[in-house]
């Protein structure tokens, strides 16, 4: 079984990365990536919710009537998101003030629903947990990549620490902290990831 867990992990992190390959969960990917700290909290929230939702839905998969499964899934997701919101509010009130509404919006993050539909509703609980974890981490890794570039370009800092000697020659690029910067950054990363993919297919 070890190799198949490894495959699930690799699929979620690289080959089937939710953001590049499936174009899911873009909304929050753009909104919270102006500072690395915000991104890490958001990534934690999404990973936690995806993993536990997949686990729960896989546990209940034989008991949920097919007709009402959507609403059942939404309610399961909403419960975990509530836990995450309360956790972040308690651990980091400053971060919560900024990303608060976006944490609530994890409910409508299509990655979670997508994994529940595509994987958890047909598989056993443990593989589903790993699958959710892998997809959450794949999402987080892309977000952190975007956030690091944006934070360096706009403030010259990483996690709030100033990079040495950068202010000698680097002029802070305000547009990167504003919405357009997020769109361009994600567009370039998607382009790079897809260009490699096109090559592989050929």
């Amino acid at each position: 079984m070890a190799s198949s867990y490894g495959k699930i992990l690799k699929d979620g992190l690289v080959t089937e990365n939710p953001i590049f390959r499936q174009v899911l969960g873009i909304c929050s990917a753009l909104a919270v990536t102006n500072l690395v700290t915000n991104t890490l909290y958001m990534g934690f929230g999404v990973t936690f919710t995806t993993a536990l939702t997949s686990f729960t839905i896989a546990l209940l998969r034989n008991y949920i009537p097919v007709r009402i499964r959507m609403i059942v899934q939404v309610i399961i997701i909403a419960v975990y998101v509530m836990v995450v919101e309360i956790l972040i509010k308690a651990l980091a009130p400053d971060v919560h003030r900024f990303i608060g509404p976006y944490v609530g919006l994890i409910i409508t993050n299509c990655i979670i629903m997508g994994r529940a539909e595509a994987f958890a509703s047909q598989n056993k609980p443990l593989p589903s947990l790993v699958d959710g974890l892998a997809n959450g981490l794949g999402y987080t890794s892309v977000l952190v990549a975007i956030a690091v570039i944006r934070e360096i370009m706009s403030f010259g800092t990483v996690l709030g620490y100033k990079l040495p000697a950068l202010d000698l020659w680097w002029h802070p690029w305000t547009i990167m902290v504003m919405p357009p910067g997020a769109f361009f950054m994600l567009a370039i990363l998607t382009w790079m990831a897809r260009a490699r993919l096109v090559k592989e297919v050929k």
Binding site: V23, L24, E85, P179, F183, A187
Partner: protein, 201 residues
């Protein structure tokens, strides 16, 4: 001038305009991107989904405002707002779908397929959540919902128009689809940044 010193009508107009342009839900707050990337290939479908979202956003913002202020706050159950809001939105879209199905077949055929997409559109839940950050009254909340919906409608209609043209030109393979759409939205967002600072509320 502070919002609280204005007449109700003036403040509603101001909130409406600011929600549509300066705080555009898609360009400035990134909400509703998933369905926007998926559906904006053609102008017709963009318009259909845009209209449906505008309608549902305005009504659910008002409904959620009432539920929050008159049910959750008096009972001290504010932490349940996420679940309650999503249930209200899901129930309302279901209801609208059923009503349209019974009353107008033509409208159902053009709008019906979009309604299930709306429940998972984060713009709608987002408007309801952002609304709570400000001390709005009922009509102000409704104006905020209507403005936010109109902003999303404008954005997706414009993107649909541009994409329809751009699909005919030869792009690098890796840039097709989401890549080029994100760049278009980025350039449009630059334009919308020009509106910011015009109104401060």
């Amino acid at each position: 001038m502070e919002l609280s010193q204005m007449s109700l009508f003036a403040s509603c107009v101001l909130i409406f305009v600011s929600a549509t342009f300066t705080d555009n839900i898609l360009m400035a707050r990134f909400l509703g991107m998933c369905s926007c990337l998926g559906v904006s290939k053609k102008v017709d479908t963009s318009l259909g989904l845009g209209l449906a979202v505008m309608f549902v956003t305005a009504v659910t913002a008002a409904l959620n405002y009432l539920v929050y202020q008159y049910m959750l706050v008096p009972l001290h159950l504010e932490y349940l707002k996420l679940i309650i809001f999503i249930v209200v939105i899901a129930a309302f879209t279901q209801l609208v779908e059923m009503i349209i199905e019974r009353t107008s077949e033509k409208l159902y055929n053009s709008l019906g397929i979009f309604l299930p997409l709306i429940t998972v559109n984060c713009a709608i839940l987002g408007i309801s959540l952002f609304m709570l950050n400000k001390p709005y009254s009922f009509w102000q909340a409704f104006a905020f919902g209507l403005g936010g919906g109109l902003g999303w409608f404008l954005a997706i209609a414009l993107i649909g128009g541009i994409r329809e043209k751009i699909n005919e030109s030869a792009l690098p393979k890796g840039l097709e689809g989401p890549g080029i759409t994100l760049i278009i939205i980025g350039i449009m967002a630059l334009g919308f940044v020009g509106f910011s600072g015009m109104i401060k509320i």
